[in-house]
Symmetry: C2
Amino acid sequence: MPRQTSQKAAKPELLATPMENAGIIDFEIIELLFFAYRDFVSDPDQILVKSGFGRAHHRVVHFVNREPGMTVADLLETLKITKQSLARVLKQLIDSGYIRQVAGPEDRRQRKLYPTQAGRDLALALAEPQSRRIERAFAGASDATRESVKRFLRGMQD
Amino acid sequence: MPRQTSQKAAKPELLATPMENAGIIDFEIIELLFFAYRDFVSDPDQILVKSGFGRAHHRVVHFVNREPGMTVADLLETLKITKQSLARVLKQLIDSGYIRQVAGPEDRRQRKLYPTQAGRDLALALAEPQSRRIERAFAGASDATRESVKRFLRGMQD
DNA sequence: AAAATATGTCAGCTTTATTGACGTATTTTT
DNA sequence: AAAAATACGTCAATAAAGCTGACATATTTT
């Protein structure tokens, strides 16, 4: 039953104006980033459901392919998640044959991570629609524009 | 016990090369977007934990403040989530006094959503560090550069 | 020999999302 | 006026992805 607009105490302090804050806050870019990222990750999401994987698997497969031989610690640092969070996802990828572990040749405590051919294929399949989307967004843009966008994105990082 | 690098079947198909795909895929922008967004949402996340809210609450408070009077259906369309997912988050925000509902004046089935003053304050507090980050990323950039970035981000949307 | 490091693992919890089903009030269509 | 569609709310069950804390093992460093 829709609860008949129940206000516990009928304080009349509703704000009907759209947050005009004298342009101090850049709401436009904030929202553009939200929508851009939302749609950007939707491409691989659709592919991943077929394999029974999620976004977390995508990120792991991506970075292991980009930097084969990276250790578990490297991956934790890159993804900024906890060891326990990574463990489940990584285990599934190893069990499914997309990633392999090799004990570090110098430091044998380490587990160096490598993609298999299937892992590489998956990473490429996931990156492809994202890359196409980026190309579309850059349609007709100059090299200088591309550089500006890269500089902006780099500046957004900590 | 670290499982001694156990490969079920020791197929030798490990790939040690860093995915050189002739530059077909734009890995650089893909990663820049990932890192930029990761750090971009980390600012409000820190504020939200204090209130016991999460990212979902942030998004709802943000859009209701940006467009007071929007309906539940509008919000579902904007966030691209399901009614049930929104329900809990919205209920908490209403119960906590950040958002109020008013039956639509023309169509009384609708629930129009408005922020309270507390809701507006919260939205601004969350947007502020994000906006500062954006300003930092644009440091020294021309208006043309800002426009290029906006065009790119718009082009990334569906 | 002791301490530190890299990794794995167990147990339990939280947030955010999902699907499916159903109820109610209201408006539109027939 | 009756039937259908719409807007919203809610119950129940589930999943993905993260978290904390604690502890074990192998290995390297001190």
